[in-house]
């Protein structure tokens, strides 16, 4: 059924796709998501604390990023900025775009999680003699992370797949690697199925991790 030639191509290409997956897709995802989380916490806290001016900047950032396609953002940073003399390598350009993009969405997740914490606990914190920062760090944020964990895991899983868009700005990640093999072998059906399955495998691992993480958080009792 599957010809010997096709079987060989699939076997050969497996490592050729998987290696960029491990060296590009996964690092791109992890680095971008880490930055995104930092951005998200800061942007969410700015809004939660209603810091004048900064909170408007935060809203503006979220508005712009959520309102434009990520593909446009990628092109703008990688192909657009050189016109201003700013030339970025593909990988850092992709990290910047994915961090900023994911940060905007995660910020909204964090903000809603922060707002879901009953205000009474903040007042109780004050009455116990804690400062605002102490209340945030010890009472509010831990609970907000707990609430935000499932939707953030969801975003992380989405991001793994979204990194395939980086192929558009010449990052040789899994999808780009596959495209190149397809160009040589003319076996798009089999090869795109193969890369799809590898993405599926990555996502499945993350889904399992999410389930384990949620189980642990539930055990923590709150």
């Amino acid at each position: 059924m599957i010809s010997q030639r096709l079987a060989n191509i699939l076997a050969d290409s497996f490592t050729k796709i998987l290696i960029p997956g491990l060296t590009m897709t996964i690092p791109l995802t992890i680095i971008s998501f880490s930055f995104a989380l930092i951005i998200a916490v800061i942007v969410a806290l700015i809004q939660f604390a209603k810091i004048p001016v900064l909170k408007d900047v935060a809203r503006f950032y979220i508005w712009i990023i959520r309102g434009t396609p990520i593909l446009v953002q990628l092109y703008l940073i990688f192909y657009g900025l050189p016109s201003l003399g700013i030339i970025l390598n593909p990988f850092p350009a992709a990290v910047i775009v994915f961090s900023i993009n994911e940060g905007a969405y995660a910020a909204e997740t964090m903000r809603s999680a922060l707002e879901s914490i009953p205000k009474g606990q903040i007042e109780a914190g004050y009455c116990t003699g804690l400062s605002y920062m102490q209340i945030m760090r010890r009472i509010v944020l831990p609970q907000a992370f707990r609430t935000a964990f499932p939707p953030l895991s969801n975003s992380l899983i989405a991001l793994v797949k979204e990194t395939s868009l980086a192929a558009n700005i010449t990052v040789v990640e899994m999808f780009m690697a596959t495209q190149r093999i397809v160009a040589r072998t003319y076996e798009p059906l089999a090869l795109y199925c193969e890369v799809g399955l590898i993405y599926l495998f990555f996502s499945t691992v993350l889904t399992k991790l999410q389930a384990a993480g949620e189980k642990r958080l539930n055990k923590a009792g709150y």
Binding site: P118, G120, E123, A124, C127, T128, G129, I139, P142
Partner: protein, 249 residues
């Protein structure tokens, strides 16, 4: 030890507190009673800066503060000398009973963990909840949560404890356990300022009773005098209603 003078507070056009003055001496248990919407809770919240009063003076331990202009630093300092028990407990949900009680000691007052844990355990024992030390708030009944909240307020050795309708959110059968703890504290000489709808507590436990309505104090005096011989017509009526209510039950 605590005196407030001419406190005013409005929410929009609604004047909630009108020139309210009140004095609490060391060892006093003062109950503030009155119909809903009379400003009792707002008064308590203004005294602990959970609401910013429009004007008024607070004298705490001989130190005088402008309730409207007080600095954040002074607020933090004063709050470390006071305890607050909320109507809906407001325990930290990410912390066990023990951790709830320890938080103010370890984080706010930098007391070493070991020492703080000992203090916390003593205070949990005091409210009868030694066996719940490792329970999270959602694993406890309302009455138990409120007792933990009292232990949390006690642990920091406050000079005065404010109670904001501490039994109003509780099932009738859980009210007793919280009132019993409060009575113990009163007997031990704690200074307490209590906003309450529990007439029994106001009458039998407190040394002084303040009757408030529409943002003003209509009458204040010894608990016995207020309940047995109220001078103000409204007080008479309000307490009369309470007594009637008890009779019906």
């Amino acid at each position: 030890m605590l005196e407030i003078k001419d406190i005013n507070k409005s929410f929009g056009l609604l004047k909630v507190l009108k020139d309210v003055s009140l004095k609490v001496n060391k060892g006093d248990v003062v109950s503030i009673i009155g119909p809903s919407g009379s400003g009792k809770t707002t008064l308590l919240r203004c005294i602990n800066f959970l609401e910013r009063a429009d004007s008024g003076t607070l004298i705490f331990d001989g130190e005088q503060f402008d309730l409207n202009k007080i600095s954040k630093k002074d607020i933090l300092r004063l709050r470390k000398k006071t305890g607050f028990v909320f109507q809906d407990y407001n325990l930290f949900r990410n912390k066990t009973a023990l951790q709830n009680v320890m938080e103010g000691l370890v984080t706010a007052r930098k007391i070493p963990k070991k020492e703080a844990e000992q203090i916390a355990r003593e205070n949990l024992a005091k409210v009868g909840l030694s066996d719940k030390a490792d329970a999270y708030p959602h694993q406890m009944s309302g009455g138990q949560q409120q007792r933990v909240a009292i232990a949390r307020a006690l642990a920091t050795k406050p000079e005065i404890i404010y109670f904001d309708e501490p039994t109003s959110a509780l099932d009738p059968e859980l009210i007793g356990e919280v009132l019993a703890v409060m009575k113990t504290l009163a007997d031990e000489g704690y200074t307490m300022l209590v906003v309450t709808h529990e007439m029994g507590f106001a009458k039998n436990v407190s040394s002084k009773v303040v009757f408030m309505e529409n943002g003003v104090i209509l009458e204040e005096g010894e608990a016995k005098q207020i309940f047995e011989n109220p001078r103000n017509e409204r007080t008479k009526q309000f307490i009369g209603i309470g007594v009637e209510h008890e009779k019906q039950i």
